[in-house]
Symmetry: C2
Subunit: 112 residues, 2 copies
């Protein structure tokens, strides 16, 4: 992920409705949720939600695929991971004062 992509992704996350949508979709794996249901669950007007989902998709954080009448939005976990990696490595220089999380801070894959 280059700097420009990171800035776009950060800007996409820096909005209440969009962050809420992403957090909701983060636990809806892997199929995601239809736009209407996201709007309903977050109590946001459909036209507004659509605008914000499009922003997240442009930033690469969500993928969209049609399933019948619905359009399912799902988190692109790879992209999200790349954003975190960018912040830790390219931005923070893997500085332990910033990136030195212990295993209590988040789940580590087995064996690492």
């Amino acid at each position: 992920m280059d700097t420009h992509e990171a800035i776009t992704a950060l800007g996409a996350l820096a909005q209440e409705d969009r962050l809420a949508a992403l957090r909701l979709l983060m636990v809806q794996v892997p199929e995601g949720l239809p736009s209407g249901e996201i709007a309903e669950r977050l109590d946001i007007q459909p036209t507004r939600m659509s605008f914000h989902l499009a922003t997240l998709e442009r930033a690469g954080l969500l993928t969209a695929r049609r399933n019948g009448r619905c359009i399912l939005y799902a988190v692109d976990h790879v992209r999200m991971r790349n954003l975190l990696a960018f912040l830790m490595k390219d931005c923070c220089g893997s500085n332990p004062a910033v990136c030195g999380f212990s295993q209590d801070d988040f789940i580590m894959p087995a064996g690492s």
Copy 2:
């Protein structure tokens, strides 16, 4: 770090000049750099840099302290770390697909 603070911090990072300033200051520890030198190194007009530094400070990502004629800006590493922790835990739910970094991805503190 709550959601509102995270949104403010993400918005502060989502700008080219500000991200560049933060990356520069990340390796200037712990004393930081004066506003003028940051502007000069990044080839940004002082009035513009001042505006962006103020934005980063409002977001809590930088601290400012006067030293004689200069005002030294320095990264608040705790805040930066808290932002990353927010993204991994509160936003991504510590999902291993996102947060499961190996030790090669960044430096881990000894013993963890």
